[in-house]
Amino acid sequence: MSGARDAILRRVERALRTGRIPSAPPDHRGDEGAAPVAADARRARPDAAALLDRFVLEARALGVETYVEPTAAAVRDRLRTLVAGLRVLAWNREHLPYDCGSICKGALVGSSPRADQAGAEVGVTGCHGAIAETGSLALIAGPGCSPTVSLLPPFHIALVGPDDLHERMIDFLIARSEALAQSSNCTFVTGPSRTADIELSLTIGVHGPGRVAVVFGP
């Protein structure tokens, strides 16, 4: 195989001497490029209330249900109502904020048999980042935080706190770069699963969850 590798790299190097590749202006990296962390420190972070408002606006436009609760107990009550009567698949208890693990006693988890997970009716997760600009939830795979929870059930509930909010995706990528490096998979969920493959007509809930709810706590 190293034969193919060397041959391709050799051809690429030769091509670079003759190819007509437009030049890149030297200053194109701008503020978020060369020294992203320093640039980020200069940026004023919008206050949490403004970020929450923006997130809710964007998420609702995508068809996501949003609930903003004043207390941890209210978050748990909301969750209890949402999952009532449904077979629950959840992140491991210690990873659910607001002590919501107590609501998900006996729930299936990421290490349960695959077939059982596939039969779950609702998936309950926390969240590693909520991107206000796009209404996206960032979920980093890790021990006790299986991606199957936000993927297999037809209904996904995410529990989000004020510290999870970021204005832009790049802010999240910078803030959580170490956690990202430790994980094999990070997914940004932006609204329910959808397709428009047939005549552009919007259809919700193809392979992933067709219903997504976000519960904000204090």
């Binding site: 195989m1 041959a7 391709i8 790299l9 051809r11 690429v12 030769r14 091509a15 670079l16 003759t18 190819g19 007509r20 590749i21 437009p22 030049s23 890149a24 194109h28 990296r29 701008g30 978020e32 490029g33 077939a115 596939a118 600009e133 796009t134 996206s136 795979a141 021990p143 299986s146 199957t148 993927l151 832009r168 995706m169 790049i170 990528l173 770069s177 990202l180 490096a181 994980s183 094999s184 990070c186 997914t187 940004f188 969920v189 932006t190 609204g191 329910p192 699963s193 959808r194 397709t195 428009a196 493959d197 047939i198 005549e199 007509s201 259809t203 809930g205 193809v206 392979h207 992933g208």
Partner: protein, 467 residues
């Protein structure tokens, strides 16, 4: 596929179903793109920077590939290099055989269309199923995709309903919600049973070896989470340098493709499952495909390797909107296909494609990376003309024209004669068959009859009146 572009285009122009389907979608996608871009602050600057960073990666492609490979290996992935489509297919079938794979679930991948990977799997006795709704219907129908992001843009929902009723023994429906539910039911089992997930890559990030995949349906997540083997097949040009660059491209990709701010699922994969994680593949392989890309990089059309496959140029192109994707005769249709296809398959069999454009520039206008597609189409036309011996009549004719045109009195005389002959042939101001050597012009289009008074004469008369 038969004949050349002209023949296929003629067939397409007579296909009413195709026109209904194309009309229902392409214009709408163009509007959605415009609205999507309008929602991006400073969109022009984001595009400039995206273009610059892509060109920079191309300028350093050999080093970038080496660095990317090193990061992939650190992440625990195995890296393979494929010079040709056959090599890629052989490598992937070998990986599957070694791992005892019997079922493969595929997320949408243009690179795998390019290598005809499904046929290779089938020859090896390995089952393979497309899981993107559009690609799944293409597979059921034994058809070919006709758009980069909307594979069945050429089908009406009635046609889709008939295919599903026939192949899945479900009752006929032309309700898209019902059709999507049929597919979900069938494919759910495939995801759970598959031993291998096969994906392309929307982007490969050089600085950390992350593979970025975007899907709206969630199939990309399924095939990278559930099967025990994950194989990525990607062209060597799909790199971005940093996560900041990736962020910029993600802002542009979904907006340009469908008008969304972000695709429903954007996944970053960094190697196989790590210790303690409950899901994810045991092994991950990345196959880097050349297949003519290094040849494209060496020439006039190197810039096209900056394409991020959003499909916006297809929706904007008046030719694509009239003839659809199949007329282009290969995997990549539309303006981008007219450059990529001759690049990877050779110019000779596809020499007509660069001419399948009016050079109106709509493609360059909408391209998120601002690729100068008209310039590259012209460069390929030049190359095609240089390579093919031109007929003697054309060579002599052009020489003759040059002589006449550079002698003003002779030119005026010749023009007067030509004008008289042409005007006599015109009906309702149009000439449908020009005489002599000019006949070639009217083979594919009508010619407007020349005006009674030439511009030059009118100008002189006007000047005379004024004085």
């Amino acid at each position: 596929m038969s004949g050349g572009f002209a023949e296929r285009a003629r067939e397409a122009l007579g296909n009413r179903q195709l026109h209904i389907a194309l009309d229902r979608t392409t214009a709408q996608l163009g509007v959605r793109r415009a609205v999507g871009l309008a929602s991006l602050d400073d969109a022009d600057r984001v595009r400039d920077r995206a273009r610059a960073s892509k060109m920079e990666v191309l300028h350093t492609l050999a080093d970038s590939l080496r660095a990317f490979e090193a990061r992939l290996v650190e992440n625990g992935a195995r890296v393979h290099w494929a010079e040709t489509t056959d090599d890629a297919n052989r490598i992937i079938v070998e990986i599957a055989t070694k791992a005892g794979v019997r079922r493969v679930a595929k997320s949408k991948s243009m690179a795998s269309e390019e290598t005809h990977l499904n046929a290779a799997f089938e020859r090896a006795g390995i089952g393979v199923v497309e899981t993107d709704l559009g690609e799944y219907i293409v597979q059921l129908a034994g058809d070919r995709p006709s758009h980069i992001i909307m594979p069945i843009v050429h089908m009406t929902r009635e046609q889709v309903g008939r295919v599903m009723a026939q192949r899945l023994s479900v009752s006929y429906s032309d309700d898209t919600q019902t059709l999507a539910r049929y597919a979900r039911g069938q494919l759910r089992e495939e995801f759970l049973q598959a031993d291998m997930g096969l994906t392309g890559a929307n982007f490969g990030v050089v600085e950390n070896g992350a593979i970025c995949l975007v899907t709206n349906e969630g199939n990309g997540r399924m095939v990278t989470t559930l099967p025990r083997v994950h194989v990525v097949l990607m062209g060597i040009e799909k790199l971005v340098a940093t996560m900041a660059d990736l962020d910029r491209f993600l802002k542009l990709l979904a907006r340009s493709a469908t008008g969304q701010k972000l695709t429903a699922y954007t996944t970053l994969v960094r190697g196989p499952r790590r210790s303690g994680e409950d899901s994810g593949p045991d092994e991950m392989h990345v196959v880097l495909l050349d297949n003519g890309r290094s040849r494209i990089l060496a020439g006039e059309t190197a810039e096209i390797l900056g394409c991020i496959r959003c499909g916006a140029c297809l929706n904007a192109c008046p030719v694509y909107r009239s003839v659809g994707g199949h007329a282009y005769g290969d995997v990549y249709p539309g303006p981008v296909g007219s450059i990529v296809t001759p690049g990877i398959r050779g110019l000779a069999p596809f020499a007509e494609l660069p001419s399948a454009s009016s050079l109106c520039g709509a493609c360059r206008e909408v391209c998120p990376v601002r690729l100068d597609i008209p310039r590259m189409l012209l460069a390929l036309r030049h190359e095609a003309v240089d390579r093919t011996p031109q007929p003697a009549a054309l060579r002599v004719g052009l020489k003759l024209f040059a002589r006449v045109a550079s002698r003003p009195r002779l030119y005026r005389l010749a023009a007067a004669i030509a004008r008289r002959v042409l005007r006599r042939r015109a009906r309702d101001g149009w000439i449908r068959r020009a005489p002599g050597m000019a006949r070639g012009w009217t083979r594919f289009r009508d010619l407007r009859a020349p005006a009674a008074v030439t511009f030059e004469t009118a100008w002189r008369r006007r000047a005379a009146r004024k004085s």
